[in-house]
């Protein structure tokens, strides 16, 4: 599909600049808030108007834009909610000020496409600029978009990413909907059997991608998304995905599982583990990042890191197989037990 050349990630863990994923930051009140950097490179006058999602997205992407040898031909962002906190602030003002005069800032900064828009403005990039908003498939659709564009116009470059924030509004709604745990959980307790719901997370992961293998950090070989609640369908789709994308008889070296501590959906992850067999390493990441619609973007970032280091922190391991290089990493994630995504991230051919 395409090669990943540069990556950045702002998350609840130390994933930006000095990366240290061995150390584990704990959630506070079941919320994994992102560790925000100082956002050097963003003019203070612009930064002060940004909502959190925009800050996270623009802050993660700007180093890639600045350091790329040629400007991306497109900016493609996936976000389920955009800057919902500012959107609600704006709507509350309508009531608070009795439908009187309103300022545009909160509204302008809260739309889902504000992240890609701000990136375009700040980097003076007049290329393709689009935002995908498909709940748990938002980032996956950004990937598909970039893959199609690269097929259509070989030799082009794209900045793609996934961003979402925890807003008090979406947290409360999701909490009432039973998606977040009622009891306080620590990272190590997240996967306690028999417990429903998960813990909230937020973050932004960005990638510079093209179709050139030279200098690439990793390759995104394949992606497959589908909606179902049927376990057998998940099993069949995974089997076909692996048969189609790996040489006959080969297995991925690592399953990066989106298991999120919600016992209602454990069956899907168990199905994947059973299908890939007990001789591959299984790792989890939501005790680091929490659950949110575009968390799969962080999974791709982690896969690139694991390939680069050929190692992963002990706390991510669910089970370990005998020593094997991490050349092919299968990411399986599902959002709310309905939206399933499978991605195969591999070592680039030249590595």
């Amino acid at each position: 599909m395409f090669y990943i050349h540069k990556t950045t990630c702002i998350s609840p863990q130390q994933t930006f600049s000095a990366v240290d994923i061995e150390h584990l930051n704990e959630p506070v009140n079941n919320k994994f808030q992102a560790v925000e950097p100082s956002y050097e490179g963003i003019p203070p006058g612009i930064l002060r108007r940004m909502g959190k999602a925009v800050r996270l997205g623009v802050g993660a992407a700007m180093p890639l834009v600045h350091h790329s040898t040629q400007p991306p031909d497109g900016i493609i962002i996936g976000t389920s909610m955009g800057g919902l906190e500012d959107c609600i602030k704006f709507l509350n003002q309508v009531i608070e000020y009795n439908e009187g005069m309103l300022t545009p800032t909160n509204f302008v900064q809260s739309t889902s496409n504000a992240i890609a828009g701000q990136l375009g403005l700040l980097s003076k990039n007049k290329g393709y600029n689009i935002t995908h908003v498909h709940r748990g498939f938002s980032f996956e659709n950004a990937i598909l978009d970039a893959a199609m564009l690269l097929k259509e116009t070989p030799g082009t470059n794209y900045l793609i990413g996934g961003v979402d924030e925890i807003s008090s509004y979406n947290y409360n709604i999701e909490y009432l909907g039973g998606w977040y745990k009622k009891e306080i959980f620590s990272s190590k307790d997240l996967y306690t059997p028999g417990s429903v719901a998960s813990i909230a997370g937020e973050g932004a992961a960005m990638f510079l991608v093209n179709d050139q293998s030279t200098g690439a950090e990793a390759q995104l070989k394949a992606i497959h998304i589908f909606q179902t609640e049927d376990i057998a369908t998940v099993g069949n789709q995974l089997r076909q995905f692996l048969e189609k994308n790996l040489p006959a008889g080969e297995k991925p070296d690592l399953l990066l599982s989106g298991e999120n501590g919600d016992s209602r959906f454990l069956k899907y992850y168990t199905t994947c583990e059973t299908l890939t067999g007990n001789d591959i390493t299984i790792a989890r990441f939501k005790h680091m990042m929490g659950e949110y619609p575009t968390v799969s973007s962080v999974a791709v970032w982690l896969a690139c890191e694991i390939i680069k280091q050929n190692a992963l922190p002990q706390h991510m391991l669910k089970s370990k197989s005998p020593d094997r290089d991490f050349k092919n990493i299968l990411i399986y994630n599902n959002y709310k037990g309905l939206q399933h995504s499978m991605m195969l991230v591999s070592k680039a051919e030249n590595q």
Partner: protein, 87 residues
């Protein structure tokens, strides 16, 4: 309200409404230009300040030329507020 007290309140409101992250209300001088080389505000901030005057003091500025004379510094804003406030 005393002029000094009104100036203090207005500075606090400017910092809050414009989300001036690195500025403390007491850092804003009474005669420091709000736009350009002083506080460095821009055209979007001028809309925020007009809304601030409307919401907090019941002042409606409809003529942009009038706005330019009012939104010069804290002194000019306070003088206008004292004369025209409806709340």
């Amino acid at each position: 309200m005393e002029t000094a007290e009104l100036k203090k309140q207005l500075k606090e409101q400017i910092v809050k409404f414009l989300n001036l992250l690195s500025v403390k209300p007491e850092d804003i001088k009474d005669d420091e230009p709000l736009f350009g080389e002083g506080l460095g505000l821009d055209s979007i901030d001028s809309i925020e300040l007009i809304v601030l005057l409307s919401r907090e003091y019941g002042i409606e500025i409809k003529d942009p030329k009038e706005g330019r004379k009012i939104l010069v510094d804290v002194n000019t804003m306070v003088a206008y507020i004292e004369k025209h406030r409806t709340k």
